[in-house]
Amino acid sequence: MSNSSSPLALELSTVTKRFGDRTAVDQLSLEVPAGVIWGFLGPNGSGKTTTLRMILGLLWPDEGWLKVLGQRPEAARDRLGYLPEERGIYQRMRVLELLVYFARLKGLSSAEAKSRAGELLERFGLADRAKARCSSLSKGLGQKLQVLATLIHRPRLVLLDEPFSGLDPVHRDVMREAIQEAKDQGATVLFSTHLMEQAEELCDGLVLLRDGQKVLDGTLAEVRGGGQRDIHLAYEPIADVPVPDLRSLPGVERVRDTGYRAEIGVAEEGVAQEILSALVGRVRVRRFEVREPSLHEIYVRAVGTDSQAISEASSETATDLQVGGDESASPATQERTSP
């Protein structure tokens, strides 16, 4: 199942990583095919960064093993591109110089590094800033430069940790283009995010983590669960007619009723008609829509909390977590997050 000609870009087998008493990643097995964009979802603290760091060979699992591009992580290093969530650039270096430096660290020759850097700067509209110091770049341009530095050596596997966080809409588009372009060149892209819309738009597949464990993974179609559908219903009661219990309708698996508006989960599309006819005459149906469940709903179903709440909570706690280094290599997270 695993040899050097494996079409898998990434393979994890029962990987476990503990920091002191806390298990950051728990028995995680995962396969990511080559040449796809894969989302790496989960609330903060669910083990995403720890897993990324293990893929990079910065941390070693306590149990299990990983194969990156068919090799052990350290051996694959030159063919990886990594953009951490917390990213900085050398302020005193010049733009071109910085790109050349990162390219050379990845093993490119000096001449090759220079020509690729020039080419990238040209293509991403930074050519006139080649000689400028990095400190003179705006925040957005700085982030663009970081993305270029991540991709300059044409990595086969690109790991992006929350690539969209802190980007304005224009630079989100640049990021999206860069991800798409990497894929077009045959690279595999794995990116972590808690923004479901981004994931939905870009991903071919995803893995969802919670508390260090895999909750679900697979292609987008797979995680959407084949025939599973969501019915979005809006209704008004009819005078003197009792409102039926939505849960008791045929084929209904779950209901999220917000009062005259409901999301009804059904196992297959076919039952939708039955539900509709059961409703007619008992309520006034104002809207009845059958949809594939959105990633947001999948997330909610899997994680058990509202993803919006999670992303809000996580953006609130983001600073704390950075300060506390939640997923950092510290074995003493508990003590260090307390004030």
Binding site: G57, L58, W60, W65, P73, L159, P331, R336
Partner: protein, 455 residues
């Protein structure tokens, strides 16, 4: 360790090192350091000379009630340019009470209070009251401040000599006999070398004995300036979140090795520039100032043992303190935080500075020997002892101890660096550090492509 047989290890470490060097050469701080040494050296030479020359002539007055003091001692007390005596009349010529004042008269309380006022106003540096019988009553010295005692010391010595003279004259000795009794003795210092031959101790030899002190001082400053650079740089990269980006391209050990080498290269550039300047100054002094024939300063400072010791102990000392400081840097988020951890290091480091003079006086004495065997002190103390010089076995044993300590410190620093640089937040506890040190180095998966074993 397989890492060190990997060609890419050296490639990446040298890329990191080159970047560090180039970046440092570009900073203002580096050029300030390059310039600061010559500037300090020049200032240290010129300022005392300048201050001495710029000092105003100090005026003093004497109220003489003895009747003999002014004629005999008073004339000798003047030192043109430094101290000049004026009579109280001269001083108070503009004062309304001047007419009442008469010099060389028994002091009136009026006169003394006028003099006190003059001292308080700064017109007068000091005044002396010579009583009728200085021998039993003593001298009285009144000055604005008592830090400059040169004048009163000279007055005391001259008065004592005059009193002795008067006693002897009173006993009937003639002046020639009394003058003849004021003898002084010259000392002819000689040294015996290893073969037992006696030689005149030349000034050059004295300079040679003391030259290591200058080298120790330079070594101390150089090691700390450079190791501190490494600390600042590590903390800066950590707080600017650059390290994590880098770590996807280089291993922590490659990064650490590159940093230590790059900063070492920076340091060597810095120290060489200081060295060139230092030798330039010495050569210049040789040209401009007529030095005694037996003092060849240039030969002293270019003594191969001194230069060799300096180079070797700079490298070893730097490695030891670089490892120590980079370990500290890796667990700190700010320089301020690092300062707390550095305090004990600096306290320890004062020891070789305090011991510098005693060791130079007795380079093979028990203190010098004992301190040589304490690895954190070895570079400084062995440099200090170079005039001795220490026995070959001492060089060998202290070097072995030092190198073992360096290896151990580097190993610990590497382990702490590996974990610490990925971590932000408050400092890890000692318990965490020990855990990091005990964590295994090396991948868990040691596998060929064919068989990835599930552990």
């Amino acid at each position: 360790m397989s890492a060190f047989t990997d060609r890419r290890f050296y490639q990446r470490a040298s890329l990191v090192a080159r970047r560090e060097l180039l970046e440092n050469l570009r900073t203002k701080a580096f050029w300030l350091s390059v310039l600061s040494f010559p500037v300090i050296l020049v200032l240290a030479t010129l300022v005392p000379v300048g201050l001495d020359q710029a000092r105003q002539e100090r005026l003093f007055s004497v109220v003489d009630e003895s009747g003999w003091w002014l004629e005999t001692v008073g004339a000798e007390l003047d030192e043109p340019g430094r101290y000049r005596r004026i009579s109280p009349e001269e001083l108070t010529a503009t004062e309304p009470t001047a007419a009442e004042l008469r010099a060389e008269q028994p002091s009136s309380s009026d006169q003394l209070s006028t003099l006190n006022d003059a001292v308080a106003r700064g017109e007068l540096f000091a005044y002396l009251v010579i009583p009728a019988n200085p021998e039993s009553e003593g001298l009285r010295y009144v000055a604005a401040h008592l830090t400059d005692n040169a004048l009163v010391e000279r007055a005391r010595q001259l008065t004592e000599r005059q009193l002795r003279y008067r006693h002897l004259a009173a006993a009937g000795l003639d002046e020639d006999t009394i003058r003849a009794a004021e003898v002084s003795v010259e000392v002819d210092s000689r040294a015996v070398d290893a073969s037992g031959t006696e030689r005149v101790a030349s000034l050059g030899e004295v300079a040679r004995q003391w030259a290591p002190v200058a080298f120790v001082y330079l070594l101390w400053i150089a090691i700390f300036a450079v190791a501190q650079m490494l600390l600042t740089n590590t903390i800066e990269e950590k707080s600017q979140r650059i390290l994590e980006v880098l770590l996807s391209s280089v291993t922590p050990i490659e990064l650490l090795a590159g940093k230590i080498l790059g900063i070492a290269a920076t340091g060597l550039t810095l120290v060489s520039s200081w060295g060139l300047f230092f030798f330039g100054i010495i050569a210049l002094i040789g040209l401009l100032v007529p030095l005694p024939d037996d003092l060849d300063l240039q030969a002293v400072v270019t003594d191969p043992l001194y230069l060799g010791s300096f180079a070797v102990y700079f490298v070893l000392g730097y490695l030891l303190y670089a490892a120590l400081l980079v370990g500290i840097g890796a667990v700190c988020d700010s320089l301020k935080e690092a300062q707390n951890l550095l305090t004990p290091v600096y306290i320890v480091l004062m020891v070789p500075l305090f011991a510098m003079i005693p060791i130079a006086e007795d380079p093979n004495g028990p203190l010098a020997r004992a301190l040589s065997f304490v690895p954190p002190f070895t570079p400084f103390v062995m440099m200090n002892r170079a005039a001795g010089p220490p026995a070959p076995w001492e060089y060998a044993v202290t070097a072995a101890l030092l190198i073992a300590t360096i290896a151990l410190t580097l190993w610990a620093a590497a382990k702490i660096f590996r974990v610490g640089i990925l971590m932000t937040g408050s400092r890890p506890s000692l318990r965490d550090l020990i855990r990091w040190l005990r964590a295994p180095v090396g991948p868990v998966v040691e596998t060929d492509e064919e068989s990835a074993p599930a552990r």
